[in-house]
Symmetry: C2
Subunit: 187 residues, 2 copies
């Protein structure tokens, strides 16, 4: 079984992260995968189905990475730094965040996808909040601010840095922002 479905998901992700959800078509995807346009509908009946599958796969990959970081890295700032490294790959490849690309379309986005990306961000927020709370408890993260508030601040900084530094094709600048962020969180 040569996995066309997986190839479709992979290429579609690249397209959405590179040009936005409204900015790519089934024709583009068909050409990228080397299949006919109508055949995509066999795997993903509608574009919304494809979008939802894309977000699910993306979220799963992140979830796995997040779990690994929690095991491999012991301290709060180190975990945030490792989390930030996940975004760096996007800058290097010239690809934005999938969920940011979808979020930008706001009201034009199908309701179902809006819920999916909200859940994506909420998952990250919950993970960051737990990491920051643990960091404050073990003294590695500076105290005095609500972990929930800090979590939003962290994800905002990284999403924004990815958005801007992709435009400037500057992984170095992204790393600079990540360093400022992590240093500021140190106790």
């Amino acid at each position: 079984m040569r996995d066309t479905r997986a190839e479709l998901l992979s290429q579609a992700e690249t397209l959405v992260r590179g040009r936005g959800y409204a900015g790519f078509s089934y024709a583009d995807l068909a050409e990228a995968v080397g299949i006919r346009k109508a055949s995509i509908h066999h795997h993903f009946p509608t574009k919304v189905d494809l979008g939802a599958a894309l977000v699910a796969a993306y979220a799963d990959r992140y979830d796995a990475a997040l779990a690994t970081i929690r095991i491999d890295v012991p301290d709060g700032p180190g975990r945030i730094a490792a989390y930030g490294q996940l975004y760096l790959g996007g800058v290097e490849q010239g690809l934005g965040c999938l969920c940011a690309a979808l979020a930008i379309e706001g009201e034009a986005l199908p309701e179902r996808l809006r819920g999916d990306i909200a859940a994506f961000f909420e998952g990250h927020l919950a993970w960051l909040e737990a990491v920051l709370r643990a960091g404050q408890a073990d003294g590695s993260v500076r105290a005095g601010q609500e972990p929930a508030v800090l979590a939003r601040y962290v994800i905002a900084t990284l999403e924004g840095a990815l958005l801007m530094e992709r435009l400037f094709a500057s992984p170095a600048a992204f790393s600079g922002t990540l360093a400022v962020l992590v240093e500021g969180l140190r106790a």
Copy 2:
């Protein structure tokens, strides 16, 4: 007399900030303004012309606000806080940053627009760098980090917060992130 053109720019800005550049059409804009689709071409021959005019008008409005902040607010952190307030309006209205909406489309975006939005961000970066450098000189902003690096960090945090908090329709959360950002910059 120039009323229609201004109305077109205003409505088009709302559409782009609400649904992205690829996510709105001349038909949408025509309906919003109450004019025929073909008449838009009289004012803006192509969609790229409209996009460029949009960015120019948006940048001009920001430039005026930036100049005012420099006059009205004396200290570094206060100026950054006032700068952040400019973004808050977008969260409250459910509108993202125009240039973020364009930046997301990346490679699919007409070359000309890409240059325009890069210039937009570079202008903000230069203003922030000058503000932060002056703040470090007068002791209101914490020293030890390059103003240019801090400037990128500031704009990333605010762009990211606008992106995410618009999705959650949470001006309060945006303000929380802004507060963390500004406190971290204090000397």
